[in-house]
């Protein structure tokens, strides 16, 4: 992570109310959300957000409703103006942009997928997918060719002439994704893109997104309130609570070392064996030679439990691209399956 981040959010504050600027000193002085609401009737939306998002990664911003995650993502393309702070994209501060520059950013650099799909109801699926190109002023023909390509890429061949209301929710969101991809932007903002879908369709869409990402390497900012979804997609996980970042980092790391009771609550409910990977619980090589088997660093723990048949006395050799990188003790694995509590957090590693 030494290279420059694609998107970098610096000291971002957002206060809602009649005179947000004048509230900044109070917030800098440490006034919290409830006090600000009580004494000045202003709502503290976001406070002191600092996040770096690397090119080609999926950054997931997770939080419950009201945590400010949708507000945060709208600051990236300035659908919402911040009260103070910087949003740096490719080295340029978006907040200094003129209207024209901002329009160019939205047309060419950032596309967006919405929770409620937000397709144009009076346009066909194909016209919707061609919309970003048409907005840029490209002719109908090239917009349609491009739209058709992406519709077929998300599995909507044959639906080009349907209207959005004739499609199911999952299919509508595929149109939404095709529309975002048709913009050929480096950055995709996904605002709770799959939250409105049924669980099974949601899994399909997550797989679709990961598959597309393997090929396209976009910088994706994904908002969700669902931890399973966050852990499945995230390269970098940011957890928001009441408008501030509680913890951010690699998802495995957050899972093993939650630094806040709020996150502990979050992570206590998930299937850890499926989410945690060997690399997160292995220990360094120590000259041991007896192994029950060989596993890959990116295998999840569920697979290991299956391999060992539940026997906790075994050790496994961990390999990455064919070279040995560590040992996995089954005992450590079992310990890692128990959610960390603040009191015994040290004992896990």
């Amino acid at each position: 992570m030494t290279n420059d981040p694609k998107i970098s959010i610096r000291k971002l504050y957002k206060i809602f109310g009649a005179d947000p600027k004048s509230m900044l000193p109070h917030v800098h002085a440490g006034m919290g959300k409830p006090e600000l609401l009580d004494s000045y009737n202003h709502v503290l939306g976001l406070q002191d957000i600092n996040v770096d998002m690397q090119a080609g990664e999926i950054t997931v911003i997770m939080g419950l409703s009201g945590s400010g995650k949708s507000t945060l993502i709208r600051h990236l393309n300035r659908l919402i103006e911040p009260t103070s702070g910087e949003v740096i994209v490719d080295g340029e501060n978006v907040l200094d942009y003129t209207e024209d520059q901002l329009r160019r950013l939205r047309r060419e650099k950032m596309s967006m997928v919405f929770q409620k799909f937000a397709l144009l109801p009076h346009r066909t699926v194909l016209q919707n997918a061609g919309m970003p190109r048409r907005v840029r002023g490209e002719d109908e023909g090239s917009a349609e060719t491009n739209g058709r390509t992406w519709l077929s890429r998300v599995g909507l061949d044959g639906y080009e002439d349907h209207y959005p209301h004739q499609l199911s929710g999952g299919m509508q969101q595929r149109v939404g994704i095709a529309r975002a991809l048709a913009a050929a932007s480096d950055i995709m903002l996904m605002d709770e893109a799959f939250s409105a879908l049924d669980p099974l369709i949601r899994t399909d869409m997550q797989d679709l997104l990961l598959e597309l990402q393997k090929e396209l390497h976009k910088t994706i900012v994904f908002i969700t309130h669902d931890l399973d979804e966050a852990l499945k997609l995230a390269d970098h996980l940011v957890i928001l609570k009441d408008g501030f970042v509680v913890q951010q980092g690699e998802p495995q790391d957050i899972l093993l070392n939650p630094n806040d009771p709020y996150i502990e609550d979050f992570v206590s409910d998930i299937n850890r064996a499926r989410v945690l990977r060997v690399r997160s619980v292995m220990s360094p090589l120590n000259g041991e030679t007896e192994f029950a088997g060989v596993v890959d660093v990116n295998d999840n723990l569920e697979k290991l439990i299956q391999m060992s048949g539940g026997d906790t006395t075994h050790n496994f050799k961990v390999q990455q691209d064919g070279t040995d990188v560590g040992i996995l003790h089954m005992k450590a694995l079992v310990r890692a399956l128990v959610p960390a509590q603040s009191s015994d957090r040290g004992s896990i590693r």
Binding site: L79, M112, A118, H122, M131, R136
Partner: protein, 350 residues
């Protein structure tokens, strides 16, 4: 002498009253009072007014105590003077602006009456077909027009229809842009809503009074303006409402993909507001029909003239039959616009 003498003496204004004595002509009441008192002693005191009959201190009542106070009829005449004073400059501005309305009304009346009935009726039916694609409605319109032609009401009916077409056209042409501007600016909306309320609640006859002074009764724009002022309100209101009601998520998506305001207006807001705008047009047509009858008082031709004749000459049958003709026109205009509105709604369903 009069009830409020004490007020002026208490304020020490008697001198002012007598100094500024206005030599206004005598009112009819005074004249009658004087002739009634003929023979009686001129300086006789008026009988004491009982407490229960104390009059409200109105202008006329105060004038009886103090001649310097103007009477109510002076006040109305001032209003009249004021209006007459602004009339000419206003006319210099309004006359050229509104002239196209006269041309359009006269042209359309001429056109509808010159083209023979066996061309106009099929053309209307073709128009209905394109708007509604409904065989039933075409039959209904055809039968209605044949019936009116059969009872010799074809010419007034087609005159009424022609006026409605022109006035609705102008209303849409003016109302939709105003509605769009209102939807974009809360300040303008706050200013415009009371004006629209006033236009809608003002008794329809009241429109005619200033217009008669501004334009000559022979000009067709006189009734054109009256109709448009009354009928433009719903299309403005519903355009404003329609655009404000467009799904905010869709607007946000349009913004997120960098649409300009113009692209957003034509590509998203107007198409999505179309059902509401069309509902406004339907209301506008209905209101022009209502006003076109009253406008016959100021020389608007059409079925309204016959209704007026029925009232003036107590020709009951003429009034009722032409009234029925108006109802028939109203029903078919309403059905046709509703049916075309329904077609728009289908493609816009969410």
């Amino acid at each position: 002498m009069a009830t409020y003498d004490w007020l002026f003496s208490a304020l020490g204004l008697q001198d002012w009253c007598s100094e500024n004595k206005t030599d206004a002509p005598m009112t009819m009441a005074q004249l009658l009072a004087r002739s009634g008192q003929k023979g009686a002693e001129s300086g006789a005191e008026a009988p004491a007014v009982s407490f229960w009959d104390t009059p409200f201190p109105s202008l006329d009542e105060l004038n009886r105590s103090c001649d310097a106070v103007a009477r109510t009829r002076d006040m109305t005449s001032w209003v009249e003077q004021l209006f007459l004073a602004v009339k000419n400059p206003l006319k210099v501005v309004l006359d050229p602006i509104t002239q196209p309305l006269s041309w359009a009304l006269d042209g359309s009346l001429w056109l509808f009456q010159t083209v023979p009935w066996f061309v106009v009726i099929p053309l209307l039916l073709i128009g209905v077909w394109f708007a509604t694609r409904s065989i039933g409605l075409i039959v209904f319109v055809a039968v209605s027009f044949m019936f009116m032609a059969f009872i010799d009401h074809y010419v007034p009916a087609i005159q009424t229809l022609s006026i409605i077409f022109v006035c609705t056209g102008f209303s849409v042409f003016l109302g939709v842009p105003i509605g769009i501007l209102m939807s974009r600016s809360n300040a303008l909306q706050r200013f415009a809503l009371p004006v629209l309320d006033m236009l809608q609640t003002l008794p329809t006859f009241v429109y005619l009074i200033p217009l008669i002074f501004l334009f000559s009764v022979t000009e067709s724009k006189l009734y054109g303006i009256a109709i448009i002022l009354y009928a433009v309100v719903p299309v403005i209101r519903l355009t404003d409402l329609g655009i404000r009601l467009v799904d905010q998520d869709v607007i946000e998506a349009a913004d997120a993909y960098g649409m300009t305001d113009r692209q957003k207006l034509w590509g998203v807001q107007i198409p999505l507001a179309m059902p509401n705008i069309m509902a406004g047009v339907n209301q506008t047509i209905m209101m022009s029909l209502a006003m076109v009858v009253i406008a016959s008082l100021v020389s608007a031709p059409g079925l309204g003239v016959l209704v007026l004749r029925g009232i003036r000459n107590l020709e009951l049958g003429v009034g009722l039959v032409s009234g029925f003709g108006i109802v028939l026109l109203a029903i078919l205009l309403d059905r046709v616009t509703k049916a075309s509105l329904g077609r728009i709604n289908v493609t816009h369903k969410r």
